[in-house]
């Protein structure tokens, strides 16, 4: 029952997009797919075609001590999404302070959810470092580090890996353009540095992704033959293989 946290030290790397896309793929392949948003941006539901940022969600209910499991929304193809919800900044700061004292709060809450054993859960996190990111990492079986193939990612790589040192860390390059020399150089450097911890399927940059988002369709429906869809399928299968080879459960000491 893999739970994957998508983390990134940089902004705009596409964590929400990937979380939505992977959860959709999981749901469409017949198993259960849930995307949970820990990012106060509250945009994840829009990837599933919601009309606007939902008011109720994980944070808004949880901070008031209410039952938050019922705040999940279902997309037309069966994918479930638990949005963050609207939260005023003072309330958010307060809540985060409380979360520092309970590092396993999210993990405990997720355990109370009735999730089928083969299903997937993807947790979208805010830009690291963040309290919510740390909660998500502790609640997951593996963490997927989402990077772009640029200099900033190379610079932040070490600190990002240090943050994931006590969990199974997997890395994927997003918005990849093979025609750009710099990007292909960075990708080669990442392969050398990370070996088989880097997904062999970089997710290509494709105009179909923002187009699908604008049309409130999933990328698979909008552009069936796009390379991006092939990459996402491959990514999901790769994550599954990586998780299977690690015998220890999520709280174990899986090192990089």
């Amino acid at each position: 029952m893999p739970t994957i946290a998508l983390v990134s030290p940089c902004g705009g790397t596409g964590r929400s997009t990937l979380a939505a896309a992977l959860a959709t793929l999981a749901a469409r392949s017949g198993v259960w797919g849930l995307a949970i948003e820990c990012d106060p941006q509250n945009l994840l539901a829009l990837h599933f075609g919601a009309d606007g940022a939902p008011a109720h969600g994980l944070a808004s209910r949880a901070s008031r001590g209410q039952v938050w499991n019922t705040a999940a929304l279902a997309a037309s193809d069966g994918t479930l999404v638990l949005p963050f919800g609207v939260m005023e900044p003072p309330a958010l700061v307060d809540w985060e302070r409380r979360l520092v004292a309970e590092p396993d709060w999210l993990a405990a809450r997720l355990d109370t959810l009735a999730r089928p054993p083969e299903g997937w859960t993807f947790i979208d996190t805010p830009r690291a470092p963040s309290v919510l990111t740390r909660q998500a990492i502790r609640a997951s079986d593996a963490s997927l580090l989402v990077l772009r193939a640029d200099g900033a990612s190379m610079g932040m790589l070490d600190s990002a890996l240090a943050m994931l040192s006590d969990t199974l860390a997997l890395v994927v390059v997003n918005a990849y353009e093979p025609g750009r020399v710099l990007q292909s150089d960075v990708l080669s450097a990442l392969y050398e540095r990370l070996g088989d911890k880097l997904s062999p399927y970089p997710v290509h940059r494709d105009e179909a992704i923002p187009e699908a988002f604008a049309r409130r369709m999933s990328p698979e429906d909008h552009a069936t033959h796009a390379q991006v869809n092939h990459d996402l399928h491959g990514l999901l299968r790769w994550i599954q293989r990586q998780c299977r080879t690690m015998k220890e459960p999520r709280s174990g000491t899986n090192v990089l």
């Binding site: 353009e177 093979p178 025609g179 494709d206 105009e207 033959h225 796009a226 390379q227």
Partner: protein, 828 residues
């Protein structure tokens, strides 16, 4: 029935659709009777074609992709019996099936395995048993060959042998193959014995002379068959040997790419592909050996980062070039590639394992695969449908040679060990086939050679028939020279089977005169009524039939996947006239004659008929054609008392005419539309469009100048649109700028735009350099079936004559036009 004939005739003559202004009954009559449309060419008779299609549907004629079979259909309707209409052959086939059901159902595969294990039984290994079995076999063989039988018994014997062979053919494994060889030998030797003892009682004079000439040719063919069986009885099928784990133990390798005058466009991909070979960078060095001393090539070598070696003279051509480089380099091993052979990245890792495992192995050879069609394949349009000429040699013969440790060097796609090479004084310079001679010298010294039947490189075949002929003349001359100067049957250092294998390779090239004899032998009777075989036709047929059928079954079994039946006759016929003189000359004066290089990289620019090279075929066709006419007259009028003899000679003549027709078909050069031949493979690629969209699709074919891709439904591209094509090599993805040239339905053609050298190198890694680039080329050939080869030859023979008729008419029209208006005369 007439409509059916008309349909087939018109389809055969390929009455193609015409542009609207030429649609008229006169035109299609013209097309049908006077001037058929060229195949795959432009417009003619669309209306007529539609009418024919309608007729064909009404008559339930099966859909054929290839026309031109109407003649064959008349003789062998079995080939197209799928229409569901009961044909004679279909009924015969059903009768045969029922007969086979009477025979108890045998599990042939299990039987084959049981035979193999039985042959390994311990009591059979004892020496006394082996000697006893050998003696018994020898006695039985002698009995079988020499016992005279009356015609009834010979008939039964012959049929029994044939039926046994047909039945044994179904069982898999090596033991049935050896049994078939034994049966074929029995039939052939029996025929030979009868021929020598019973049929040579000839009238003194011309009959004796011609009779002995024919007998000599037959003895040659029998000898080649015998040696061939011995050579290919047990193909070794050596697997690749893994290299040691410690990369530090891997040796240094020099890669030589010798060149003389080939253009840089041919040389560049070869060198870049060699750069892509996987081997530790500090242990491999690439040397470009330029006998042309060209500045452009030197500059290219510098840009590419490979070494450049040129020498002051051109003594001994390629051999001298290699030897000159041998003295200036230091690698422990030397890999040699012809200037147009693109190596895959795994070449060294696949071949070097054996070299390291066996210190006495002096050379390892890999197949020469051609990704462009040779003249036979292109002009007869058999590319990727029927195995080509080289397929037998590299697929079976070298594997058979490997079993007897007599694989010989073929000049390219091989790795040699430096020590033994220096020991024999470098590459041999005494003959023009320096490669085979070098291997012979290595074998004489006691070194071993190996063959790895895994294609690790591919190159260009000869471009035109003229070039092909000149290349084969060089090989034939060289082999005849070696046979004279360094005869493998005498001299020390070789085992007996090595002597036989080498002799077979060399004697093979003396087929010129025997083939010419076979092509003209029936004419002795048809023209002059000379009986050069003293026998009645019936008895001759009874002895001849097993001799023809059984070796045919055996060779089809042994080499069916590599060469279809009767194609050997075509290859020999095309070259027979041209190699007769050089081989005879080289046999008697081996040191004369200069080396002529095979030109690579030229292009047949227009479809034309090569009149000059096909003159010998015309002569033979004329002789045989007149013989045919005379024969028919003899059959009905003049010699109807010996109708059997006339009939046999007539059948032989018709067979010769068909083979000659195929040879003439080869001389009809078809235009090559692309400078760089495309390879059909399905590779996943990503199209990166200018507007940011990506599309995943598969190539239909690729080359170094462009690709054909299948983009699936829903994508339409404008010609001239610029995009990038991303391809993978291993884990790395490379993008190449390209332009869309055309789109037909889901198939899009793109052409690469301005690739610099680094990009070209990467492109080669993604395409030609892939380790699995050539691993499945075998699968596209249909294996040989008993009569399939015959059908192919009949088709091609008739088509060759049709081509000839078209070309003649075209040439006559051109000449007439020139005669009427001299100002239209074009320079040739």
């Amino acid at each position: 029935m007439f409509y059916r004939l008309l349909t087939f005739g018109a389809r055969a003559l390929e009455v193609e659709p015409a542009p609207p202004q030429r649609r008229s009954p006169r035109h299609w009559l013209w097309r049908l009777f006077i001037r058929p449309a060229p195949p795959q060419a432009g417009p003619a008779g669309r209306l007529f074609d539609l009418f024919l299609d309608w007729l064909a549907r009404k008559l339930e004629v099966p859909e054929e992709e290839r026309r031109g079979y109407w003649g064959m259909r008349l003789f062998l309707p079995a080939a197209f019996g799928e229409a569901g209409r009961p044909t004679l052959s279909a009924m015969l086939a059903r009768a045969w099936e029922r007969l086979q059901m009477l025979v108890p159902q045998i599990d042939h595969i299990a039987l084959g395995e049981w035979l193999e294990s039985a042959a390994d039984a311990r009591w059979l290994q004892a020496r006394a048993v082996k000697v006893l079995v050998l003696l018994a076999c020898a006695v039985l063989f002698w009995l079988g060959v020499t016992t005279p039988l009356n015609w009834g018994s010979q008939l039964v014997f012959g049929f029994a042998l044939i039926l046994a062979a047909i039945q044994i053919r179904n069982t898999s494994g090596m033991v049935p193959t050896l049994t078939l060889i034994a049966l074929a030998l029995l039939a052939s030797c029996r025929y030979g014995w009868w021929r020598l003892t019973q049929s040579m009682d000839l009238e003194p004079g011309w009959e004796t002379i011609l009779g002995y000439v024919l007998l000599g040719a037959e003895i040659y063919a029998w000898l080649i068959m015998l040696l061939g069986f011995a050579q290919c009885a047990w193909p070794l099928r050596r697997p690749p040997m893994p290299l040691p784990e410690d990369v530090g133990a891997w040796p240094t390798v020099d890669i030589y790419v010798p060149t003389y005058n080939e253009p840089l466009s041919v040389l560049r991909p070869t060198v870049l592909a060699a750069k892509g070979i996987d081997w530790p960078a500090d242990k491999v060095r690439i040397y470009l050996l330029d006998d042309g001393r060209r500045d452009g090539v030197r500059q290219f070598a510098q840009e590419a980062g490979v070494e450049y070696i040129a020498r002051a003279d051109n003594a001994h051509a390629k051999a001298g070039n290699l030897n000159h480089a041998l003295n200036r380099t230091r690698g422990e091993f030397i890999a040699i590639f012809d200037c147009d052979h693109l190596a895959v990245r795994s070449f060294l890792q696949t071949t070097m394992g054996w070299m390291l495992r066996d210190p006495r192995c002096a050379m390892i050879q890999t197949p020469h695969h051609f990704f462009s069609p040779d003249p036979f394949e292109r002009n007869l349009d058999t590319f990727r449908r029927i195995p080509n000429e080289g397929s037998l040699f590299y697929g079976l013969v070298q594997d058979g040679n490997d079993f007897w440790n007599s694989t010989f060097f073929c000049g390219s796609c091989a790795v040699l060990r430096r020590g033994p090479l220096l020991e024999i004084g470098g590459v041999a310079v005494e003959t023009v086939t320096e490669d085979a001679h070098t291997a012979l010298k290595l074998h004489r010294r006691g070194y071993k050679t190996a063959y790895l039947n895994i294609t690790q490189a591919a190159g260009l075949a000869t471009e035109s028939l003229a070039q092909h002929v000149s290349q084969r003349i060089r090989w034939a001359r060289g082999m005849a020279q070696i046979f004279r100067l360094d005869n493998p049957l005498i001299g020390r250092g070789l085992s007996w089977m090595q002597r036989l294998c080498y002799s077979n390779a060399m004697l093979h090239f003396f087929y010129g005169i025997p083939r010419l004899v076979f092509l003209t032998a029936p004419l002795a009777y048809l023209y002059f009524q000379l009986h050069i075989i003293r026998s009645s036709a019936a008895i001759f047929a009874l002895y001849l039939l097993p001799h023809l059928v059984l070796p045919h079954i055996t060779t089809a079994r042994m080499q069916g996947a590599y060469r279809h039946s009767f194609w050997a006759e075509v290859y020999e016929t095309v070259l027979a006239w041209y190699i007769s003189l050089p081989t005879t000359f080289a046999f008697f004066r081996p040191s004369a004659g200069k080396f002529n290089v095979t030109v690579k990289g030229g292009l047949v620019t227009r479809t034309h008929f090569d009149w000059s090279i096909s003159r010998p075929y015309f002569g033979l066709v004329l002789l045989n054609g007149i013989g045919l006419v005379i024969g028919i007259m003899r059959l009905f009028f003049w010699n109807s008392f010996e109708a059997g003899t006339v009939a046999m000679n007539l059948v032989w003549t018709m067979f010769n005419l068909l083979i000659l027709g195929a040879a003439i078909g080869v001389a009809h050069e078809r235009r090559q539309t692309r400078a760089f031949q495309r390879v059909t493979t399905h590779l996943p690629v990503v199209l990166l469009m200018g507007d940011g969209h990506t599309q995943r699709c598969f190539t239909e074919n690729y080359s170094l100048t462009g690709l054909g891709v299948n983009v699936g439904e829903g994508l339409s591209l404008e010609p001239g649109e610029l995009l990038h094509v991303a391809m993978e090599s291993g884990d790395v993805e490379y993008a190449f700028p390209a332009r869309v040239t055309s789109q037909r339905g889901v198939f899009v053609g793109v052409q690469f735009v301005d690739l610099d050298q680094a990009q070209l190198e990467r492109l080669i890694q993604c395409t030609f350099g892939r380790a699995d680039a050539w691993s499945r080329w075998h699968e596209q050939y249909a294996s040989d079936l008993p009569l399939r080869g015959l059908q192919e030859i009949i088709t091609l023979g008739l088509r060759g004559y049709v081509d000839l008729a078209q070309s003649t008419v075209r040439a006559v029209r051109v000449r007439l036009a020139q005669w009427r208006r001299p100002e239209l005369a074009q320079p040739h």
